[in-house]
Structures are given as structure tokens and as C-alpha cells.
């Protein structure tokens, strides 16, 4: 009898340890499921995701292994039609099991809150609207100790279905988003027609763009390379094609690109939505439904 009890406790303990180590391991894997970390914000978010995956894996494995254990060992014997023990509840257990999720919620919420504050991605236009109980200023003690005040200000215009970037200091436009690395950037997001969404997976950052509504959006690119910007808010027929290249480069290269683009004459950019639209409207047999025609391709100094 005694041996049986010890054995049971040992099994439980081994199970718990196995579940713990497995979930820690899974939590570490989470980083490999994500794109490269190209912005300071992505470091914070990835740590948070890894933390949540660890916790989630622990809960999931805990529950499923209990269920699988029951399914294997608590099956009714054939022809045994009696009932199980009529246990209806257990106050201590129920209290503990209510307290645990409450504590977890506060833990997850406060960690998420800290990360969000450090990111500080909402620019001043949002702060104006606030009768703000939670001061967001601390947000500017920004990620990776980057320079607090944004140095680069870029206008982003979204339309059905193209992205246009305007660099006010040099007054140039481009269909490629060039960004200096290790500098805080502030984008002024605008939409010409419907809702669009500004999303760069490698930065882990996203913001809807709303017509008649100026939205400032801030972040800090940290890793040189080429990434994709996509439209994240469904914007009609050619939604999927609304993409652009994002090029993060050293501040020197960035300045050089600006200077070089300033010497070029504006010309119409290539646009996938426009060319697909032209193609389908030329077909003799229409296989789809009528659609809103794409906006005219933007005139840009640097068509990318």
C-alpha cells in the first residue's frame, strides 16, 4: 500500500518535471518561428512571445497529459456498468484553481504592459487625443536606448493598391521604404481611400491607417537588410498585391540614397494591381466580378 503511494507520487513528480522541461524547451523554439529581428521592438515582443509559449505549453501539456492518462488508465472494464465515485466538488481545490488563473492573468498583463510601454510606438498625434490616465511618456525611454527624439520623419500614403513614401526634408517620393538603422523613425500614416494597414513582419509592428485621420507611428530599425511591408487591413480586390520593399541601411548609405534619389526626375512606378487590372479587363471572357479600378500609379523619384 505504502509503496503504491510512493510510486504514484513519483510518477506525478516525473510527469511534472517532464512537462516543465518540455515547455521550457518549446518556449526557446519560439524564436525560430519568427522572422529576423529587424527592429528594436521585435526583441521585446519576441521575449514576450517566448514567455507566453512556455506558459501555454505548460498548461496545454499539463491538461492533455492528464486527459490522456485518464483515457488510458480510467477506462471502464467491459461489462462493468457501475458508476464512478460520486465526487461533486472540493472547495480547496476549486479555490486554488480559481486563484491560479487570476494570478497568471495579472502576471501576463503586467509583463505585456511593460513591453508595450517600452515600445512606445504611438506618436504624438495619438497623445493629443488622450485624457490620459496612464502616462505614455516613459515610452520614449525607448527600446535599446535608442535616441529618444525621432530623427527621421517620413510620410506614408496608402491607396488602393500602392504605397508611396515621401521624405519631406529632400522632398522626394519613392515606392521603396528606405530607413536608417539605429535611428528612431516617425512615420505619418495617411490613407487616400479605404482602411489600410502598415505591417512589417520583421519589425513585428502594425498599425491601421484610417482615412481623414493622421496617425504617427514610431519605431527603431536595427538590422540592415531588405524586408517586406504589407497591407494588413483588407482593402479590396488587389489587397494581396499591396506590398513594398523596406530597406534598412546604415545612416551613411541612407543619406547617400536620399541624395541620389533627389537627382532623379519623377516617373510613374510599376504597380502590380494596375497591370493585373489591365490584363483582366482585356480578356474576352470575364471570369470574375467587376472591381474598383486601381488608383493611378504614383509618380516617384525612386521607383525601386
Amino acid at each position: 500500500m505504502k509503496i503504491q503511494k510512493i510510486l504514484n507520487i513519483l510518477t506525478l513528480l516525473t510527469g511534472a518535471i517532464a512537462v516543465t522541461f518540455t515547455s521550457i524547451w518549446i518556449g526557446k523554439q519560439a524564436y525560430s518561428w519568427l522572422p529576423p529581428q529587424a527592429a528594436a521592438e521585435s526583441l521585446l515582443i519576441d521575449d514576450l512571445i517566448s514567455f507566453l509559449v512556455t506558459l501555454g505549453a505548460f498548461i496545454f501539456l499539463g491538461v492533455t497529459s492528464t486527459l490522456i492518462y485518464s483515457v488510458i488508465f480510467h477506462r471502464a472494464v467491459k461489462d462493468d456498468f457501475t458508476d464512478g465515485p460520486p465526487i461533486e466538488g472540493n472547495v480547496t481545490l476549486e479555490v486554488v484553481w480559481t486563484a491560479i488563473p487570476i494570478l497568471l492573468v495579472f502576471w501576463i498583463a503586467s509583463y505585456s504592459y511593460q513591453v508595450y510601454e517600452q515600445m512606445g510606438i504611438q506618436g504624438p498625434s495619438e497623445l493629443v487625443h488622450l485624457h490620459n490616465p496612464l502616462a505614455m511618456e516613459s515610452a520614449y525611454a525607448a527600446p535599446a536606448n535608442a535616441l529618444a527624439e525621432p530623427v527621421e520623419k517620413i510620410d506614408v500614403l496608402a491607396k488602393q493598391w500602392a504605397w508611396v513614401f515621401h521624405y519631406p526634408e529632400r522632398d522626394i517620393t519613392s515606392t521603396e521604404l528606405h530607413l536608417p538603422s539605429d535611428r528612431r523613425v516617425r512615420l505619418a500614416l495617411k490613407s487616400q481611400d479605404v482602411l489600410h494597414g502598415f505591417y512589417i513582419p520583421a519589425f513585428r509592428l502594425k498599425q491601421d491607417i484610417i482615412p481623414n485621420h493622421a496617425i504617427d507611428f514610431e519605431f527603431t530599425p536595427i538590422l540592415a537588410g531588405q524586408y517586406r511591408l504589407t497591407d494588413s487591413q483588407y482593402s479590396g480586390t488587389y489587397f494581396a498585391t499591396m506590398q513594398a520593399n523596406v530597406i534598412v541601411e546604415s545612416p551613411e548609405d541612407y543619406q547617400q540614397w536620399l541624395a541620389q534619389a533627389a537627382t532623379q526626375k519623377p516617373s510613374p512606378a510599376k504597380n502590380q494591381a494596375a497591370s493585373e487590372y489591365a490584363q483582366t479587363s482585356n480578356q474576352s471572357v470575364q471570369t470574375g466580378w467587376v472591381t474598383v479600378p486601381p488608383a493611378a500609379p504614383p509618380l516617384v523619384n525612386s521607383p525601386g
Binding site: 486527459l67 497591407d231 487591413q233 470574375g288
Partner: protein
């Protein structure tokens, strides 16, 4: 494999005095019997489940390759819009209302719903909604293409210039479905409050009734908001008002508030009855009382209440200020507390029981496991920084399909198998049921698990084409999707054959405790000759106490 326990069960010798009509024509008539209406809802909604499934197959076919090559982009957009709409408004809502119709009067010891004619009218609006939705494929310009949430300004763009267009029809159909749901909600709430058998206090109600009650209360407070939003959008679209049209100074974000104020709680209108189905099934097949019955009952109401203050989590990145993002993050996470209580209660009910893995139990167990997974990704989504990354990506699509397929649809299957003998008076085939379960369980995971890595990598939802690096997981997902599509075949086969010529079912084939199992299968018209008098709590497994004072057990 067919091991249907009918041991120890006596078939009722005498036929019930008022025989249940077995005329199939009745199901095509304006019947006011809640049981006929329940089955009408179930069969109609299953038909639309198949329609929505065909749209899903087209989408998964398109997504086999990175290019947009199977169908035109406009067609793809129509497909995902109608798929989402049909699955929500014509499958999950009506099928759960069907179960509620069938079971609630039986479970509370009533002869019918409070307003039988209203009940029939509410049902007959569902085929009208369906015909409108399907009809919209044939208007010039095709069906609505703005997604099931129809955000303006995209939903206000009307390239055909016609007044009758897919989006207008869509809004009309959704409004009719809302009216039907309001009628149903009034009827359910009245029935549950007023028509319980003597002795059935609130804490003697089966949990299914608690689940329906909480869900229908949400309908009462939520639907007016959705209806208001839909009517304003309809006015913008047809007569050119400017509530939401930014070109005329309107505010499209307002629509999102109206929409999600209802449509987030709507998720609980769907899931609460499914939780309730779990609470009915686990005790029967574990042969134990439901662990923590009262807490589980109250947690349904708590979920309904908290669900009313979480809607902004769908709008974190929609120009929402930081403080609001954070407040709604906290309220959203709070939903996991009453939900966690339920999960714990189910696991504790199963623990130490004497498990019988019949098809309903298999489906309920599979659904529980997938719900735990969905709950975990749900918590991740509620965290603002994580949502900023994965919002509107396939991570979200994966999450809500684990809810809507993994939990709701699988839970519905569990319920169909469990109550099939009661409803039809015949047994289903256990071996076909198990084949169905394994195909569905494997298919669901194969289809929806790959969506999570895709979303983390940044693949967006609602796209007909994507970057080539996403192809691998998409192919797996599509194969899983086709498997899921196929998994419905053994189910349909089983249901049709068993209904026509299955073994005759006894009144209580699962030896379950509950009023519905005390009447014959199928139950007679008006259910009870004598209204039962309730003398104990439900789920008295292992306690050998009678449930009623006057009905033979």
C-alpha cells in the same frame, strides 16, 4: 467495434399515449412542436455547413500555390466573405439554436417553448436568409466581398453602380437573421424563467440550460448594437448618408465599435452552448457527477457579463489609444478565469471516472483538447504587443478555427451523436462514428495547426496570393482541409442510413440522468404526459437517488 450498451435497459412496453408523428412531411411544414423545429434548424444548418465547406475548399485550392491562379481575386474575396458569413450565421448559430429548441423544454420538464408560433416564425427566417445569401451570387457584381465583418469604406464601394448588389443583400440577410435571433432569445429566456417544472430551482437546472440561458441573454443586449450598425451602413450604401463614409466626413472606426460590441459577445453565444454540451456529455461517459456544478453554472453567466466589455481587442491596431488598448487587454484576459474554471471542472469530472469512449465522448474529448489550445493562443492574442504583430495574420485564422471547428463544430458533432437516438429513435453506427471522429480530428489539426507558424511568419489573412516561402505550410493546411471535407462523408452516410434503418433505440441508451432520457425515443408530442416533479440535482451519477418524484426512472 459496435458496442452499444443496452444492457439493463428495458424498452418501454406500452407505447406512449400520444404517439410521436413519424411523418417526414412534417419537417417541411410550419410545425410549432419545438422538437420538429429543433430538427428543422439542425438539418437546414447542416446543409449550409456543407455549402460553407465548399467555399472553404475553393479557398484552400487557391492557396495551394503562391500565385492567384485558381480563381479571380474578386471570386476569392467573395468566397472568404461568404464562407465566414455562412459558417457563422447559417451553421453555428442556427444549429445551436436547433439543439436548444429540441432540448430545453425536455430538460426543464416543459411541454413546449413559451411561444411556439414565434418559434416557428424564427426558424422559417433562416431559409430566407440562406436563399438571399445564395441568391447574391447571381446579381451583377456578385456577392459581398468585404469580409464577414464588412468594414467600411470597402463595403461602401460599389463598382457596379446598381442599387441591388451583393453588399445590400448581405446586410438585409444579416438583419433578418438578427430579427430571428431576437425572437429566439425572447422565447428562450421566457421559457427558461417561466416554464421550469416544479422543484427545478435554478441550481437544479442541467448545465445545458444554463449555457443557453447565458447565451440568449447576450443576444438581448448585443444584437441591438449590431442591428443599428447594419442599418446605418445600409443607409450609407443605398441613400448616401455619411455615418461611416470618410469621403463624406463619416467615421469608419465607429462601425467597428458597433460591430464588435455585438460580434465579440456573439462568439460566446456560440461557445457557451458548446461548453454546456461538454458539461452534459462528460458526466455521462465518465459516470461521475459534474465536478463543481454550481461554480460551472455561475461561470457561464460571468462569461456572458465579462464578454460585454472586451470588444476593443479586435481594434487594438485600429487607431485605438494606448490606455484603451491596455484596459481592454486586462478585461479580455479576465475571461480566461471563468473559462479556466470550466476546463478544470471537466478534467476533474473525467479524472477517476469509468470512461466509455463512445463517439460522443471521443468528439467531446477531442474538442476539449483543441479548445485548450485555442484558449492559449487566445491569451496570446489578447496581449497587446503580441497582437500588434499577429493581428490579421493566419495566426488569428488558426486561433479562431480551433475555436470554430476544433471546439464548436466538434462539440456539435458530439451532441448530434449523443442525442441522435433520442431524436430519431434509432441508434447510429458506432464504427462509422469512430472513423468520422479520427478523420475530423486529424484533419482539423492538419488544417489549422500550420496556420500558426504562417501567422507568426507574417502571412496575412484574406489574401489570394502570398510569398513563395509560405507555400510549405499552406500545402499541408490545404491537404488537411480536403481531409476535413471528406470527413463529412462517413458522417452523412451514417446519419442517413441509421435514421432510415438503424437499430431501434431505447429511451435511455447511455443510462444517462436527465429528464429527456425519461421519455421514449423519440419523445411524444408534448413531451410529458404528467409534468415531472424534480427532487434532486442533476448529474447524480453514483448516488442512486431519483431525479423526479412522479416519473418512472
Amino acid at each position: 467495434m459496435t458496442n452499444i450498451p443496452i444492457e439493463g435497459i428495458l424498452l418501454p412496453n406500452e407505447k406512449p399515449k400520444h404517439e410521436s408523428s413519424s411523418n417526414w412531411k412534417e419537417y417541411f411544414s410550419f410545425s410549432t412542436d419545438h422538437k420538429v423545429i429543433g430538427i428543422q434548424y439542425l438539418v437546414t444548418s447542416f446543409f449550409f455547413f456543407l455549402v460553407g465547406g465548399i467555399f472553404a475548399m475553393v479557398m484552400r485550392g487557391e492557396l495551394m500555390t503562391p500565385e492567384s491562379d485558381l480563381v479571380d481575386r474578386t471570386v476569392y474575396n467573395g468566397m472568404f466573405t461568404m464562407h465566414g458569413t455562412v459558417m457563422l450565421f447559417l451553421w453555428t448559430f442556427p444549429s445551436l439554436v436547433g439543439f436548444a429548441n429540441y432540448l430545453v423544454p425536455l430538460m426543464i420538464g416543459a411541454r413546449d417553448m413559451a411561444f411556439p408560433r414565434l418559434n416557428a416564425v424564427a426558424f422559417w427566417m433562416v431559409p430566407v436568409v440562406g436563399i438571399l445569401m445564395m441568391g447574391s451570387f447571381f446579381v451583377p457584381g456578385g456577392p459581398a466581398q468585404a469580409g464577414w465583418w464588412s468594414y467600411p469604406p470597402v463595403s461602401l464601394q460599389n463598382p457596379t453602380g446598381n442599387l441591388i448588389n451583393g453588399q445590400v443583400i448581405w446586410l438585409l440577410a444579416v438583419a433578418i437573421s438578427g430579427v430571428s435571433s431576437i425572437m429566439g432569445a425572447v422565447n428562450f429566456v421566457t421559457t427558461i424563467v417561466k416554464m421550469r417544472a416544479p422543484g427545478m430551482g435554478f441550481f437544479r437546472m442541467p448545465l445545458f440550460v444554463w449555457g443557453v440561458f447565458s447565451a440568449q441573454i447576450i443576444q438581448l443586449f448585443g444584437l441591438p448594437a449590431l442591428t443599428a450598425g447594419a442599418v446605418m451602413l445600409l443607409l450609407d450604401l443605398t441613400v448616401g448618408t455619411s455615418f461611416f463614409d470618410p469621403a463624406k466626413g463619416g467615421n469608419p472606426v465607429m462601425f467597428q465599435h458597433y460591430f464588435w460590441f455585438y460580434s465579440h459577445p456573439a462568439v460566446y453565444v456560440i461557445i457557451l452552448p458548446v461548453f454546456a454540451i461538454f458539461s452534459e456529455i462528460f458526466p455521462v461517459y465518465s459516470r461521475k457527477p459534474l465536478f463543481g456544478y454550481k461554480v460551472v453554472a455561475v461561470s457561464s453567466i460571468l462569461i456572458a457579463v465579462v464578454s460585454g466589455i472586451v470588444w476593443v481587442h479586435h481594434m487594438y491596431v485600429s487607431g485605438t489609444p494606448g490606455w484603451m488598448r491596455l484596459i481592454f487587454m486586462l478585461t479580455t484576459m479576465c475571461v480566461s478565469v471563468p473559462t479556466g474554471i470550466k476546463v478544470f471542472a471537466w478534467v476533474a469530472t473525467i479524472w477517476g471516472g469509468k470512461l466509455r469512449l463512445h463517439t460522443p465522448m471521443l468528439f467531446a474529448l477531442g474538442a476539449l483538447i483543441m479548445f485548450v489550445f485555442a484558449g492559449i493562443t487566445g491569451i496570446m492574442l489578447s496581449s497587446v504587443p503580441v497582437d500588434v504583430h499577429v493581428n490579421n495574420t493566419y495566426f488569428v485564422v488558426g486561433h479562431f478555427h480551433y475555436v470554430l471547428y476544433g471546439t464548436v463544430t466538434m462539440g456539435l458533432y458530439a451532441a448530434i451523436y449523443h442525442w441522435f437516438p433520442k431524436m430519431t429513435g434509432r441508434m447510429y453506427s458506432e464504427s462509422w462514428g469512430k472513423i468520422h471522429f479520427w478523420l475530423a480530428f486529424i484533419g482539423t489539426n492538419l488544417n489549422f495547426l500550420p496556420m500558426h507558424p504562417l501567422g507568426l511568419q507574417g502571412m496575412l489573412r484574406r489574401v489570394a496570393s502570398y510569398a513563395p516561402e509560405y507555400q510549405f505550410w499552406n500545402v499541408i493546411a490545404s491537404l488537411g482541409g480536403f481531409l476535413l471535407g471528406m470527413s463529412t462523408l462517413p458522417f452523412i452516410f451514417n446519419m442517413v442510413i441509421s435514421w432510415m434503418q438503424g437499430e431501434k433505440a431505447p429511451a435511455n441508451p447511455w443510462r444517462a440522468i436527465g429528464l429527456e432520457w425519461l421519455v421514449s425515443s423519440p419523445p411524444p408530442v408534448e413531451n410529458f404526459e404528467e409534468i415531472p416533479i424534480i427532487i434532486s440535482e442533476p448529474y447524480g451519477y453514483g448516488k442512486s437517488e431519483p431525479l423526479t418524484a412522479n416519473l418512472p426512472e
